[in-house]
């Protein structure tokens, strides 16, 4: 029992000494009113303990009477000092503080005036008993009151701060009881159960003070569980936010629950993203405008800050929580950067969509305009052509050659205009109408087109080499082949020879180049790009001219497959090259279409293999 008592006493002394040293170190580091009163309170208590231990246990003698009086005065002042420490956080009723000050002064005077201190076991003189009763009365009256105030201060604070304040409240209360009980203790040397209980209470109180002021990391972590959870929730939530406003709305309540602060405001890029509990007197507009205001603590984030209006307990008890807040601010910063990126992306996408819509609308409008225009142009053309025909039929006999030639020219021109209108209409439709691809046998198609053209131009010779099947809209593919062959026939003369061949592309892996070459006069290099423009045409040998739209249609048809068409540097005649990507080739496209079933067949075979 003695050993246990010794151990408890050792723990108690060590605890008070630790709190004293801790308070002193803190005061050396942070010179605030709070740390000053805290240091005064616990350095004196720690000093009393240290000196007592030094004399009793190390030197084995009682301290001199004068020193004993000094230690007792320090002990008597403990409640007053603790009250002043509390007063540095919140207003303590002046009357209460004065009564305690007066009581402490009276005690001090009594300590100085006492003739002597009885040895343990000696009978106690009346004056000593009066002193003892007064001493205990002051402690018992003061410490629980101070404890109650600590307890109350914890309301609405983050868990860690609340627990620390309540631990201190318990420590103060237990300490006062310890003193009360130990004053009732008889001075006997024998250590009985009662003495042990008193000793245990004192130890508990000292440990509670340690926990309240400087909780070890493991205790802090467990007390902080709620805040950590809140922080975790915030981090999960923040990573889901997609706008700065959401970040603000989510962050502010979490900040409040993590840190002891009156108010919180999140400001970025000149915008208030969220605020809570900001004092009415605070000039938020100034903060938003980027001017710092008094009474706030801020955590910088990119292009803004998280502002806190701390309460009086925040600097002393909330220091660790402020560090948690740093993590939260970092998360918020990330979330805001992410939201900004998402916002930019959204805006870009919306802009693109709008532009796309506009383009589509413009295209549709153009198509409808070209259609209407061509239709409206066609009606009068049909009339003109028909009237010309009527005139020729009815006046043919009466007209001389020259007048008949006039009529013929009228008819020719009207017919030319009709083909212009028709080609323009086709050009506007390529890539918009008739786009569904099919497998097209280009060799057969070319032969067909050749036979059609030979009806008009029997001297035309077309040699068709081995050509791949393509994956194109058949109507468009026919337009492409027909326009190119017509072009060769028109510019190459009546007996032009045309070769249609294919070769693997050197530009796109798996692509094919179709070549349409003739032995005509060729196209001068300076016109090789120009001829693909609308209404661009070169002089034809027979003086006639095409609409100048055929090659433009070819280019549009090829472009719609993702390919390219150009005129090569081939000498002696014109050579058109059409580059078709693998996706426009029947073999590639069909193998891509059938690849899934064939793979599953392989899998099925693999399964039945022994």
């Amino acid at each position: 029992m003695e050993a246990l008592d010794r151990a408890l006493q050792w723990l108690e002394n060590a605890s008070f000494l630790f709190v004293g040293l801790w308070a002193f170190a803190r005061w050396r580091r942070v010179r605030t009113e709070q740390s000053r009163w805290l240091a005064a309170t616990f350095v004196s208590l720690g000093g009393v303990v240290t000196v007592s231990v030094l004399f009793t246990d190390v030197l084995g003698v009682d301290p001199p009477q004068a020193l004993t009086r000094l230690l007792l005065i320090a002990l008597a002042a403990f409640p007053y000092l603790l009250l002043r420490f509390l007063g540095s956080f919140e207003a303590v009723p002046v009357l209460f503080q004065r009564i305690i000050a007066l009581a402490t002064a009276v005690l001090s005077v009594m300590i100085l005036l006492l003739p002597s201190f009885p040895e343990p076991g000696d009978p106690r003189p009346t004056s000593f008993i009066v002193f003892l009763v007064t001493f205990v009365a002051v402690w018992v009256a003061t410490l629980p009151a101070v404890g109650f105030r600590f307890w109350r201060a914890g309301v609405g604070q983050p868990t860690l701060v609340r627990r620390r304040l309540r631990t201190l409240a318990a420590a103060a209360t237990v300490l006062s009881f310890t003193l009360l009980l130990s004053s009732l203790r008889s001075g006997s040397e024998v250590i009985g159960p009662f003495a042990l209980v008193v000793r245990a209470l004192g130890t508990v109180s000292s440990v509670l003070f340690v926990l309240g002021f400087a909780p070890p990391a493991v205790v802090k972590a467990s007390w902080r569980h709620n805040e950590e959870r809140s922080l975790h929730e915030a981090s999960v939530g923040l990573m889901r936010t997609t706008s700065a406003e959401e970040v603000g709305a989510l962050l502010v309540p979490h900040v409040r629950s993590v840190v002891a602060a009156e108010g919180v405001a999140l400001i970025q890029g000149g915008r208030l993203l969220g605020a809570h509990g900001v004092p009415a007197s605070a000039d938020l507009d100034a903060l938003v405008a980027g001017r710092p205001i008094d009474g706030t603590t801020s955590y910088p984030i990119s292009d803004g800050a998280l502002y806190l209006w701390p309460n009086s307990y925040t600097p002393f008890f909330g220091q660790d929580e402020l560090e948690l807040l740093g993590r939260l601010a970092l998360l918020a910063d990330l979330a805001l950067a992410r939201a900004a990126l998402l916002g930019t992306e959204r805006a870009t996408r919306a802009e693109l969509a709008a532009t796309n819509e506009e383009l589509e609308a413009a295209n549709a409008e153009l198509e409808s305009f070209v259609y209407s225009a061509s239709h409206d142009l066609k009606s009068p053309l049909i009339a003109i052509q028909s009237y010309v025909e009527l005139l020729r039929d009815e006046l043919g006999e009466l007209l001389d050659d020259e007048r008949r030639w006039y009529l013929e020219r009228m008819g020719t021109n009207a017919a030319y205009m009709e083909s212009l209108v028709g080609d323009l209409l086709e050009l506007s439709r390529v890539g918009r109408v008739d786009v569904d691809p099919e497998v097209v046998d280009v060799a057969a198609l070319t032969a067909e087109v050749r036979d059609e053209l030979r009806e008009r131009q029997p001297g035309l010779q077309v040699e068709v080499g081995p050509l791949p099947a393509v994956w194109m809209n058949p109507l468009r593919c026919r337009q492409l082949v027909r326009n190119l062959l017509e072009n060769a026939a028109a510019y190459g003369g009546p007996d032009v020879r045309v070769w249609v061949e294919a070769r693997p592309s050197s530009r796109i892996d798996g692509g094919v180049e179709l070549l349409v070459r003739d032995d005509g006069p060729g196209i001068a290099p300076e016109y090789r790009e120009k001829v693909f423009g609308v209404f661009e045409r070169l002089a034809q040998p027979d003086g006639k001219s095409g609409t100048g739209i055929g090659l433009a249609i070819c280019r549009k048809v090829v472009a719609a497959t993702g390919g390219e068409i150009w005129i090569t540097d081939h000498e002696g005649g014109a050579e058109f090259a059409i580059l078709l990507p693998p996706s426009a080739l029947a073999a590639t496209a069909s193998s891509a279409r059938t690849s899934i079933p064939s793979r599953s067949t392989e899998a099925a075979e693999a399964e039945v293999a022994p």
């Binding site: 239709h375 009606s379 028909s386 009237y387 009207a414 017919a415």
Partner: protein
């Protein structure tokens, strides 16, 4: 041979002239009634608005793009009316757009001819159409 009555609906005066010429060139017994747009065509069919005395036509030749009521709407109206739906409608338009051709048949049009730019071709086309709808094929008569 009985007289064939044809209702010609076209807003273009020149086209009406050529179509009339082409039809009359056949030398058959033909009476041509004219409507200058879709609204007038419907008035004519319903014998109202000044056309109270107009007999029912054996065949309609109908343009598509016309003011007031266009050709597609006329087809829809005529083919939706049990009393009129047996009148064969041949669309005669300068448009060869698939949308127009398909639209005409979808609404119930019976044949579609793209206006040729030559009188001779016009004559041949119209003769074929007229013969088909008056001599080869007849749509079921309206219920008595």
């Amino acid at each position: 041979m009985t007289t064939t009555r044809i209702l010609l609906v076209d807003d273009n005066e020149d086209h009406r002239f050529f179509i009339r010429r082409a039809l009359e060139a056949e030398g058959d017994d033909i009476v041509i009634d004219v409507a200058v747009d879709g609204a007038e065509a419907l008035d004519s069919l319903y014998q109202r608005g000044g056309f109270e005395d107009r007999p029912r036509p054996h065949l309609m030749l109908l343009d598509l793009r016309m003011p007031r009521v266009d050709g597609l709407a006329v087809i829809e109206q005529v083919k939706g009316d049990p009393d009129l739906r047996s009148i064969p409608i041949t669309v005669l338009s300068s448009s060869a757009r698939p949308e127009d051709v398909n639209g005409s048949f979808r609404n119930g049009g019976n044949s579609y001819v793209v206006k040729p730019a030559s009188l001779g071709a016009m004559r041949d086309e119209l003769q074929a159409v007229r013969q088909y709808w008056t001599e080869v094929s007849m749509l079921p008569d309206p219920p008595a």
